[in-house]
């Protein structure tokens, strides 16, 4: 299969994925090319697949530049960076990496809740700075029993709910439609959900409808004692509004793994002790990244061997 060209649109930072692809295909690394347009042009006739990730996918422009493109295999579960309608139109297959990362992302969501409410990062900083010798750290907020509102009750949302339940947290949710066999309380709007929970977590897919689903009104409804957790996509949250809500105390705290313009994070958030900022590590464990890479490679192999795709979306 060495003659099959695969274009990697994301930075080639994960050695295992790069190696496994290079064993089977001719891998073109777009991020390493000094002149990307020229690079694509030179290899467009051999490129039959694209591998992207949460940050870099395949937009309409790229798809149009690759006449031999048959499949886009994303190293992520989110497909907001892939032009799905365009792929459908051109009969290009699209796969992602669901399930293998569900638990890690849910674990991180709970980790962020604990880190914000119990000030784990700030109290670690307190000890490292030597301040503990001068006095005790202040009171933090109990997590057990706090009400958790989940935006999007898909695989990840459900996994977050079952974990939070172990801490006796009452669970409520917002989704496009109410789920019939779910025991959690449903709210028909995000703003009502926010008004009725203490911790609001974004766990839905990013689409045109969910862009800025957490806006100023939602943050005000969540309130000065409310905490926002985002393990979805940066654009789910109106980021400038988030910054002012936190600076003005209209929102009680935030735990964020994603941002509108990664890797750039608004600097006014750096000094806030009620905010935890992570560099998009939701699926960032050795075990899960390997499983994701195996799915990406597995999907590509299935396609080129004319077998059923493992995790197709289109």
């Amino acid at each position: 299969m060495e003659s099959i060209g695969v274009l990697m649109t994301c930075p080639p930072n994960f050695p295992y994925l790069v190696e496994e692809l290079e064993k089977r295909f001719t891998l073109y690394k777009l991020q390493n090319a000094p002149d990307k347009t020229h690079f694509i042009n030179s290899h467009k006739n051999s490129i039959r697949a694209v591998v992207g990730n949460a940050g870099f996918g395949a937009d309409a422009e790229l798809i149009d530049q690759l006449p031999k493109l048959e499949i886009v295999s994303s190293f992520s579960v989110g497909l907001d960076k892939v032009d799905l309608p365009k792929c459908k139109e051109k009969r290009i297959r699209v796969t992602n990496t669901p399930d293998v990362l569900t638990n890690d992302v849910a674990d991180l969501a709970i980790g962020l809740m604990l880190a914000v409410l119990r000030r784990l990062c700030e109290s670690d900083r307190y000890v490292r700075s030597g301040k503990w010798k001068k006095g005790d750290y202040k009171l933090t907020t109990k997590f057990t029993g706090k009400s958790v509102g989940i935006i999007g009750l898909g695989r990840i949302g459900m996994a977050i709910a079952t974990r939070a339940e172990a801490f006796s947290c009452p669970i409520s949710y917002y989704a496009r439609t109410e789920k019939p066999d779910v025991k959690y309380r449903y709210y028909p709007s995000v703003i009502e959900l926010a008004a009725n929970c203490q911790i609001l977590v974004v766990a839905c897919a990013l689409t045109e409808e969910t862009h800025h689903i957490v806006n100023r009104e939602v943050m005000n409804a969540l309130g000065p004692k409310g905490v926002l957790i985002n393990i979805g996509r940066g654009p789910h949250v109106d980021e400038p509004e988030l910054v002012s809500a936190l600076l003005e105390g209209r929102l009680g705290g935030a735990g964020l793994d994603v941002f509108e313009d990664e890797p750039n994070v608004p600097e006014p958030l750096f000094g806030l002790e009620n905010v935890v900022l992570l560099p998009h590590v939701g699926s960032g464990t050795v075990e899960t990244r390997k499983a994701m890479a195996d799915l990406v490679v597995g999907n590509l192999e299935a396609h080129f061997f004319k077998k059923p795709l493992l995790t197709p979306v289109v």
Binding site: D107, V127, W132, T141, F167, S168, L277, P279, T285, T288
Partner: protein, 334 residues
């Protein structure tokens, strides 16, 4: 004194029974003294007197029946010797290591502990520390806040919590709350405790070294006693291994701290999450250079919710005692 004159009865100020407070508990500092007060007793605050403790006790405490103990107010055999009328010790701390329990038993003095008021908060912190260490939350938050993400790229990968074998050292109230939570994350639980617990089906290891050899993470949830001092020693840490992680929400001296620091620095264990240390608040500087350690300033119980529950329990126990009713949370050694 009995009186037939009603007016006299109203003005009859029978002294309230006294509760000796040798030193101000941290909880009095954090939420104030008011939630701990009652119309049924008064506090005799030794720490507000300029007199040294033994003089203070000789002058004021000759008929005191109860002591309010805390981490900063230990109840030793020497103290009890000066207070022959004491029948009850109530503590605000989760640990009982500052109370001479055999001496209390010998003198027939009851001890009231904190029961379950802290268990959820401490368990939450234990789980938080474990997730933080495995997923590098504090370390990568530092990385982002120092502006390193755009310049230095992605942060190194962490380790998955799901499927990890977690060993609980000490399956009491707190240990049990930890297991309830970790099960939801898909961890495989096993434990070591003084006795096997009939109400759980987790694998029991009689020997903490064997537990460590069969686990990816150890969570220390036991109390500090003569038997548990340096329970986690070189042998146990070695058995835990290079990929092993340890979380301590018990007491610092349960772990041989010097040995743990050496193991961390030399990569013989993978990381640690610690709320307690051998010499608080003096934390070994060697910790500060380590990115795979999460440090917490002994604050597992300090939330307003736990403090409120504590104050109600302390008052409840003292009121029950002075009304000759059963204590709400009497400590009975199993």
């Amino acid at each position: 004194m009995a009186s037939t004159n009603p007016q006299e009865s109203v003005r009859d100020h029978s002294p309230l029974p006294k509760v000796l407070v040798p030193n101000k508990p941290r909880s009095f500092y954090t939420i104030g003294e008011e939630p701990f007060t009652s119309t049924k007793f008064q506090y005799l605050k030794a720490y507000e007197s300029p007199l040294p403790l033994d003089q203070f006790l000789a002058t004021h405490a000759h008929s005191v029946k109860a002591i309010l103990s805390s981490a900063s107010a230990p109840v030793t055999a020497d103290l009890l010797q000066l207070l022959p009328t004491v029948r009850l010790v109530v503590t605000t701390s989760a640990g009982l290591n500052q109370i001479d329990l055999p001496e209390c038993r010998r003198r027939g003095i009851a001890v009231a502990n904190v029961a379950n008021v802290y268990s959820a908060d401490v368990a939450d912190l234990a789980v938080g520390l474990l997730i933080d260490v495995l997923r590098k939350i504090s370390a990568s938050n530092r990385y982002v806040k120092q502006g390193n993400w755009p310049t230095r790229g992605d942060y190194p990968l962490g380790s998955k919590l799901g499927g990890k074998r977690v060993g609980i050292v000490g399956l009491g109230n707190i240990g049990y709350e930890v297991t309830k939570r970790l099960e939801a994350f898909g961890c495989c639980i096993s434990y070591n405790s003084r006795k096997k617990k009939p109400y759980v089906s987790y694998p029991f290891y009689e020997n903490v070294c064997e537990l460590a050899a069969n686990c990816d993470a150890l969570i220390i949830c036991c109390g500090l006693t003569d038997q548990t001092h340096h329970l986690i020693n070189k042998e146990v840490l070695s058995a835990l291994g290079k990929k092993g992680v340890i979380v301590n929400i018990g007491r610092g001296p349960i772990i041989d701290e010097k040995e743990m620091v050496r193991c961390l620095m030399e990569g013989e264990i993978a990381g640690a999450g610690l709320d307690v240390f051998e010499n608080e608040p003096d934390v070994a500087k060697d910790f500060f250079a380590l990115d795979n350690v999460v440090l917490s300033p002994h604050c597992a119980v300090f939330t307003p919710e736990s403090m409120k529950d504590l104050s109600e329990l302390v008052v409840g126990n003292l009121v029950a005692f002075f009304s000759n009713k059963p204590l709400l949370s009497e400590y009975v050694d199993e």
